[in-house]
């Protein structure tokens, strides 16, 4: 499926209708989903109705903007009224949300067409999509590999052309990692830039919804619509939302900081090569490369697992079998209702995080874990502040390696956790960050590079990313899509 910007142009010129786009999308889902397992729920009827309304508007000469008529998919931890929201967990099997996320409301008001809900690691906890209770999603470029996670469904859906636009969520790299593994553009906005109302909470002080598209313009258009103050989310930023633009292929005067600590040991040579190539392209476009350091970034993973797990242990307390979702059968009392429903309803990774978090908040351990983690978090935030005195944007790998084989890291949680070491600092600091396709391995697995910008400077981030995209080209099309399209 063509990028958002091209489709918007075609819709505006009347070359194509929204309903056609939706039918294309549904056909692609029917064709590829059996191989990839991306969608957990497809809303065919709802999508066709919304597309009809969009086409009717166009016929009257009206439009709701650049996303009017564009199909999109939603990670299944973002709620939409009348649709299931499982978070890929058995504990929410059968739960249908009675309300819309603010994001969904804004997209509907902009005319975008919701096609369905896509797979993720259970409650967004994971880096590979292997922790979905309803079966893993495969990487469209190589189906024996993971798409990355936790927004693996969102990125695989865009990479495989099922939809031109999808939304994922990040707590620690969960949009950027799969975007890198799937060869698409994934944006993690500043904390508070996009309303979290209707995003099922994992680590509330870190969670942020982000758009996924084939191009920088796609995520910029999406962000322009979904960003901004929400009276339903007290943590949204009050700063006005500009109309986000992509760059004009020049980086003249821009300072691109290359993060020293993230280019050394442990970085796969092909990943390192992509970052160096991207740095060279920046220079060719007129940017000045500067060496920057994030000395406390190495504590990021540890800090992240304490903070996010602590918040998760509290956020997931509501799933107790008492009011909605899964309830264990045959329980005799309240205690059993809780323990059985939660033991049976949550998967192993979720239980692991709840236990880590419960421990970290326990009386007598709070200061040693949560307290210290919050202190270290402040140090990481200071690192970024200093780095952004020297540079306008930061350049680094997204992950030390490209996509790995399914099963490779399932037996080693720590190796899985380290997959996110390079993305997590931005979540801890609350700054915006983006994964941009920057090449591929010799075997054809996509590799992304990461750009990061100061808090609320998505405008700078998207401008630089757009210019660099022009030099690096779009991400590769998966073979199975190219075959299908042929």
């Amino acid at each position: 499926m063509r990028p958002v910007g091209e489709l918007a142009g075609a819709l505006a010129r009347g070359e194509i209708g929204s309903l056609e786009l939706v039918e294309d999308s549904l056909a692609r889902i029917r064709e590829l989903d059996p191989k990839l397992h991306v969608f957990l729920h497809v809303d065919e009827a709802g999508a066709r109705e919304a597309a009809d309304r969009s086409d009717a508007r166009r016929a009257r000469g009206e439009t709701l903007g650049p996303l009017d008529g564009i199909p999109y998919a939603l990670k299944d931890n973002i709620v939409a009224r009348g649709l299931p929201s499982t978070c890929a967990s058995r504990i929410l099997e059968g739960f249908v949300s009675p309300y819309d996320a603010t994001l969904v409301t804004r997209l509907r008001d902009a005319g975008a067409v919701l096609v369905g809900k896509v797979n993720l690691d259970e409650f967004a906890m994971g880096s590979s999509n292997e922790h979905s209770a309803f079966g893993l999603t495969r990487n469209p470029h190589e189906t024996s590999h993971v798409p990355g996670g936790s927004s693996g469904g969102s990125c695989a859906a865009v990479a495989s052309g099922m939809v031109p636009l999808a939304f994922g969520s990040e707590t620690g790299g969960s949009v950027r990692l799969p975007a890198s593994f799937c060869g698409v553009v994934g944006l993690k906005p500043s904390y508070g830039r996009v309303s979290r109302y209707g995003l099922v909470a994992f680590g509330s002080s870190l969670d942020q919804i982000g758009p996924v598209a084939r191009t920088v313009q796609g995520v910029a258009d999406a962000l322009s619509i979904v960003a901004g103050l929400d009276p339903r989310d007290a943590t949204t930023a009050t700063a006005p939302v500009p109309r986000y633009e992509t760059g004009d292929d020049s980086l003249l005067g821009k300072r691109v900081g290359v993060i020293r600590e993230l280019l050394g040991e442990g970085v796969d040579p092909e990943v390192g090569e992509c970052v160096r190539r991207a740095a060279n392209e920046c220079e060719k476009l007129g940017a000045r490369l500067v060496d920057v350091s994030l000395p406390h970034a190495k504590y990021g993973v540890a800090v992240y697992y304490v903070v996010s797990s602590a918040e998760a242990s509290s956020n997931l307390a509501r799933f107790d079998g008492a009011r909605y979702g899964y309830r264990a059968p045959g329980v005799r009392d309240l205690e059993e209702l809780y323990t059985e429903s939660r033991s049976q309803g949550f998967g192993d990774e979720v239980k692991r995080r709840i236990m880590i978090g419960t421990f970290a908040l326990s009386s007598g351990y709070y200061d040693a874990y949560y307290g210290r983690a919050m202190h270290a978090r402040a140090l990481i935030r200071d690192d970024f502040a200093r780095a952004f005195e020297a540079a306008d944007v930061l350049l680094s790998p997204v992950s030390p390696t490209p996509s790995f084989r399914i099963g490779d890291r399932m037996e080693d949680p720590l190796a899985m956790y380290l997959t996110d070491a390079m993305t997590i600092p931005a979540n801890l600091a609350g700054v915006p960050a983006l994964s941009l396709p920057a090449g591929a391995t010799s075997s054809g697995l996509p590799i992304g590079v990461q750009l990061q910008a100061p808090y609320l400077r998505e405008d700078v981030l998207l401008e630089v990313a757009g210019s660099l995209e022009g030099a690096l080209g779009w991400g590769p099309l998966p073979a199975l899509v190219a075959e299908g399209a042929a």
Partner: protein, 481 residues
């Protein structure tokens, strides 16, 4: 051996905001179960709290009125525990950075007034209600209407020594929150709830004994009784060489005993941490100033002023300031009547008696202050007698009609024309020769009886003073023979 009881109270006050603490649902008591709910207060996946500014203002008002040190920045925290009427699995409260520290509550016991010191006041949300069916196999139903109702928790220092002091403390708090208009303070409906921390120590000892926490106290009387029972239990235990175990107890009002809560209910690690969904609460000077300006004259101050300004006994001033509505009503009545003492006599007498009989609040009292003042003026002007005024008052309450109209209709206007009174007096003298003879034989106290007869014969209309004078003159002068 003498024992001293040491009491600290934790009081929860529901704030009567229009909407709940963190969502726009109505904050209303008594609606059908689970009707005032939304994704936020139901704790649905993805929902987020947004702080109600009015709840903050009300909490702030209470903190300022109780002379607390209001904190420039306070922090909401999650208190984590599992219970079916707590849909998020945590309560949004405040922990190590509360809204206000210190403060004091004035109390009066046996005419002696003193200040009880506070530890803190913080803002939090209420949980839902679990309705347990009667009997062993009864099910439990959950009503989440109350979920998210704003509460302030007011924690006192262990500064109270007697059950009556605890009662006076609660009564004072109740009046204050009610005067502030932040709560009705009604313990029977749960809008004011109290847990008591009780310990005992030997008289003269300065170190605190081991305390127990007594819950399920649903009236001021229950609080006083429970403290009495629990302190006696502890003292007896210690006398017998035993030890008090720190624990939570439930008061049973019927049997007047305490029983321990199941240990599981008591063994909580609440795992407090800062609520990431809400920003720190920052209260600037302008806001504190604006809220301070909303605070009315407080109960004790008003009571003292009433006593001084209207020249009425302290007890009466206390009764007339028991509620803000009553005090406001009386203040207007006394001002319009132009005579505080008379107004107080009427308020304490006829008005309060009527309210009690009819179980009305002062707001439901049907006679307007203007109407009442009109009645009083008729007495002052001598148009009707005091006793006739009471009859008219009762008719005004029953019919809602104006005093002059009723006086006219029932012919209750006082007879102050002496020739008319003379005629009636002469009739009475003629009709009671025996009593007249007694009077003339020096038994002058019989005069009262004869005045009564004159009043009776005039159907209460004769001016009693005039009747007495004329009667006295006629009897002394021998007229009529």
């Amino acid at each position: 051996m003498s024992w001293e009881t040491v009491i600290g109270l934790e009081v929860h006050v529901q704030l009567n905001t229009r909407t709940k603490a963190f969502c726009a649902c109505p904050n209303r008591f008594g609606d059908p179960p689970n009707t005032n709910v939304c994704p936020v207060c139901l704790g649905l996946p993805g929902a987020l709290p947004v702080l109600n500014d009015r709840a903050v203002d009300m909490a702030l008002m209470a903190a300022i009125a109780l002379e607390c040190e209001v904190q420039d920045t306070s922090i909401f925290a999650r208190k984590n525990y599992f219970y079916p009427d707590l849909p998020k699995g945590y309560q949004i409260s405040q922990f190590d950075r509360p809204l206000a520290l210190g403060g004091r509550v004035p109390i009066e016991v046996d005419g002696e007034r003193r200040q009880v010191a506070l530890v803190r006041i913080h803002l939090e949300e209420d949980a839902g209600k679990s309705l347990h069916a009667e009997g062993d196999r009864g099910d439990t139903r959950i009503d989440l209407n109350r979920c998210g109702t704003p509460l302030i928790e007011i924690v006192s220092e262990p500064d109270l020594r007697r059950p009556e002091e605890a009662g006076a403390y609660l009564e004072s708090l109740r009046r204050i929150v009610q005067y502030l208009g932040v709560s009705d303070g009604d313990m029977s409906q749960g809008s004011l709830r109290c847990d008591a921390n009780v310990s005992v120590r030997r008289l003269g000892e300065t170190v605190l004994g081991t305390k127990t926490e007594v819950k399920n106290l649903n009236s001021i009387k229950a609080v006083e009784r429970a403290i009495g029972v629990e302190s006696a239990r502890q003292a007896a235990l210690l006398e017998a060489g035993g030890k008090v175990v720190q624990t939570t107890l439930l008061w049973d009002d019927k049997s007047a005993t305490v029983r321990p809560m199941r240990s599981k209910e008591d063994a909580h690690d609440y795992r407090y941490f800062p609520e990431p969904d809400l920003l720190p609460l920052v209260l600037d000077h302008a806001r504190k100033k604006r809220v301070r300006a909303e605070i009315p004259e407080l109960p004790f101050a008003r009571r003292d002023r009433f006593a001084a300004q209207y020249g009425i006994p302290a007890y009466d001033a206390g009764v007339l300031t028991a509620s803000k509505d009553m005090a406001d009503w009386f203040e207007r009545f006394a001002t319009d009547a132009g005579d505080g003492k008379t107004a107080s006599n009427w308020a304490m007498g006829e008005v309060l008696r009527t309210l009690k009989e009819k179980a009305w609040t002062i707001a439901e009292f049907p006679v307007s202050i203007d109407g009442l003042v009109e009645l009083l003026k008729m007495v002052q002007a001598g148009t009707i007698s005091g006793s006739a005024a009471k009859t008219v008052f009762a008719r005004m309450v029953d019919t809602g009609r104006a005093a002059p109209e009723l006086v006219e209709e029932e012919g209750l206007a006082q007879i102050s024309d002496s020739s008319e009174v003379v005629a009636i007096v002469d009739e009475v003298i003629a009709g009671h020769p025996e009593q007249v003879a007694s009077f003339r034989n020096g038994k002058e106290q019989i005069l009262g009886f004869l005045v009564g007869q004159v009043m009776k014969a005039s159907r209460g209309k004769a001016n009693p003073q005039l009747a007495k004078e004329i009667l006295h003159d006629r009897l002394k002068s021998g007229h009529p023979a």
